[in-house]
Subunit: 336 residues, 2 copies
Amino acid sequence: MRIIVDAFGGDNAPLEIIKGSLDAVKEYGVDITLVGKEDVIRKVCKEQGINPDTFEILNADDVITNDDNGSDVVKAKSQSSMAVGLKYLHDGGGDAFVSAGSSGAICVGATLIVKRIKGISRPGFAAVIPGAVSKFMLLDCGANLQCRPEMLRQFAVMGSVYMNKVMGIDNPRVGIANVGTEEHKGTELQQETYALLKNSSLNFIGYVEGRDIPADKCDVVVCDGFTGNMILKTYEGVAIALMKKFKGIFTKNLKNKLAASMVLKDVKVLKKDFDYGETGGAPILGVQKPVFKAHGDSDARSFKNAIGQTKQYLESGVIEIVTEKLKEIKAGEEND
Amino acid sequence: MRIIVDAFGGDNAPLEIIKGSLDAVKEYGVDITLVGKEDVIRKVCKEQGINPDTFEILNADDVITNDDNGSDVVKAKSQSSMAVGLKYLHDGGGDAFVSAGSSGAICVGATLIVKRIKGISRPGFAAVIPGAVSKFMLLDCGANLQCRPEMLRQFAVMGSVYMNKVMGIDNPRVGIANVGTEEHKGTELQQETYALLKNSSLNFIGYVEGRDIPADKCDVVVCDGFTGNMILKTYEGVAIALMKKFKGIFTKNLKNKLAASMVLKDVKVLKKDFDYGETGGAPILGVQKPVFKAHGDSDARSFKNAIGQTKQYLESGVIEIVTEKLKEIKAGEEND
């Protein structure tokens, strides 16, 4: 199994990406191709005492940044590490691709270079998020700001298969993010998606309000990419703000520091449980080969986790199952 | 100053509403009219040892619930405590109205019974939320699921005046909720609103991502009501989930309980700081008289705070200033 890694994606590239890749080779026994400026990669390896022959190195001179438009990945930045890596995946150079670079670019690149699964309208950016009890998937988180009901149905199918096969959840509960739980709530998008999912073979539980999203109401939350992005980032923002507040309390004075030392172990577990970094990132669902977005601020640990998730995604057969399910839906509609 | 109170709105009505109203009379020196089933109000007063003559009581036999459609407030439920109270406000029976009842109904009722300020397209549901550093306003939080840019501009004007006059913030910073901070990000709604606010006299700071919303990036966040509702409720949900997790740690064993006792005072302050209930609720901005939505789960303390906020709203002159600003905008456009 060979994972293609964008060595120049993310805030801490290439150093943390290379370190995380090395850890992944050791921990998961995968082969890794690092894509990016070869001379810089070799220099970093040398400085870190890493044997560069651990990896295959594929040169790419350019880098795509968050300031570029997503579509630049197939235009001005077609020689970027991300574009070259995705092309290498498409051409069979490796089995899956991971990048901590621009979310917009990776979604466009996955769609246009790796190509969609037959029948998928638009691939989705699918974040796996720690909830109060267990992890849940939120999609789309920003690949498609405006969506049609049919797209949300496809997100529901893909999210359900992923949570089952990769995250091991039996018969995942699927919900639609909405402003209320009664059937008449929301806009046409929510209402028409409701009708589609109600008549599906999914374990559909109806609408989910924002307040219940962290509260283990369902395993897959579907919504348009604008809403998903706002939920995802508000989620992160509130968790960060509250954790900082607690840190302030725990470091306020000697007495509080003593109290902190007594619960330190438990708080660390909580922090890890609620740490979005632990889940590694988000798969791009709906393309023909596994493409995985690691967090932009990935350090070596987080990036290694992303590679681990990508390996599971690849081994799980998600793409094959989704392809089959879409055929079934299409056949069902033709029989209607 | 007379505040009209919907005695039958919210999860804890009428008991907590009546108790909170009594506390408000004592603390703020306001006159209060309780609207609802008179016999029940008198019975509760008797049971609680409250002199019913503390209040004016206005009978209304019906109650609007969260299961009713918002528009029922002017249809099937026109004899509900909310509808009767809003009518009493419109007719000059009191100076402002507070209810912990259905958000949808109060928005419709405020618009159709109390009527809009001249020039306002649609009133907004404007929540005041505790952030990491200070409180900020998020609007619209659900009155208008789909919005036009002009509506968001009006929300920005109203939110800015409210945060200045009621919350005492000098030159409030206004931002648009969006998936990124670069000018080309988002949908037409965000981009066109950006163009309108850029050319306004507001202290416009551009787009605000979900992650930065709790982080004191701005004092007023404008968005459509669908997005605002998802942000608001996700915000609440994550805060509740994390607080519960900490409670679990603090009650886990004797050692942790001891640690908890050492930081209890500080955690209580934090809980209060982050408690949405402390802010009392959300004004409905854009109608001719102050209408205030208290939290659905208001207890006496939270409802008393809501009355306090309503008093400030009334005294601040927000409505008069907004009316003037709208005239200026209109005059400016006619000069263009």
